[in-house]
Amino acid sequence: MNQSILNVKVWRGTQDGGFVEYKVPRAANQTVLDVVTYIQRKLDPTLSYRFACRVGMCGSCAMTVNGKARWTCRTHVAKIADSDTLEIAPLDNLPIIKDLATDMTEFFDKMSKAVGYFKGEQTRHDDFAKVKPDSEERQLANAGIECIGCGVCYASCEVVSARESYLGPAALNRAWTLVNDERDSQQLDRLRAVAGDAGCHSCHTQGTCSERCPKQIEPTAGIAGLKKIVGRAAVMGSKWGKL
């Protein structure tokens, strides 16, 4: 085992592509994104991948590393490579554009389908809405609000793999944070949008999304909350009305 050289298998091409092996010198505190960048800048400039901030804020650089979806800019090679090999592929459950770049259109469209956007009723002439920081709703929203939209949960979800229409953990987590936003005025539309098999009720509660979320969000917990609130709203109604 040569510790100073890393053998990196990188996915090249589209769905029908394959792995190509590169040799990359190891360095202290090297991240997986550093490895990919080295390959593109020093070994093969035709390699396509996506990144922006490099500090875990933008959610652009997620890839499948040694079989698991991860944010590559904050993943140290030393922490995940058992030997001197690394396998880097594009995210699962998304169409590949080229090499390590996936088409995330569907992923973001599903956020809209889950009514994952805020709409209030107040205008600039109204006073500020006062949300108590320690209220239960605010606390529940806080737990899911730091999502950076990296797609790691979506790529890791077994239900997304099996059911194309399933909204997925990120969109449902976003819906859950908004269900807990007392200022939002489209709650019934949102509950309808996330109901049933294409929505929260087909989650198997396997928890891979929660396990892999780089921001330690637990979409599984939010989805469980949605299941309960939507189920109850369908049978007995909710504070916003009946579905």
Binding site: G196, D197, A198, A233, V235, L243
Partner: protein
């Protein structure tokens, strides 16, 4: 079309809720049932001995009929979910859960009638 899809989704949400409530009832019923079994076999296990205790016992009939009804709600919804995820056959996806529901209700109720009002 959008309205139709939405009403199916809301039916699925309702079924999820019914399954969840019936699961709570079942959890309680199974626990009580296990305790009953434990007590019932203390002095041996014969048909006469069991029927001696259950015959004419309305409380026993009520408890086990609730148990049957909870199964009747819970199991077919679960089977329908499994079928919907694994086989693409609209007829079977509807027929098998209905058949299971009918079997649980009929056989379960017959069993309750049998132990409460039947002859040994």
């Amino acid at each position: 079309m959008g309205q139709a899809v939405s009403s199916v989704a809301i039916l699925q949400a309702k079924l999820w809720y019914y399954q969840r409530i019936s699961a709570m009832v079942l959890a309680l019923c199974v626990a009580v049932h296990l305790i009953i079994i434990y007590i019932a076999v203390q002095d041996g296990l014969t048909a006469n001995e069991i029927l001696g205790r259950t015959r004419g016992n309305w409380g026993f009939a009520l408890f086990y009929e609730i148990f049957v009804l909870a199964c009747f709600v819970h199991a077919p919804i679960g089977l329908a979910n499994i079928l919907r995820e694994n086989i693409q056959n609209a007829f079977l996806n509807r027929a098998l859960p209905l058949l299971l529901a009918a079997l649980i209700l009929i056989l379960g109720t017959m069993a309750v009638i049998g132990v409460v009002w039947g002859q040994p």
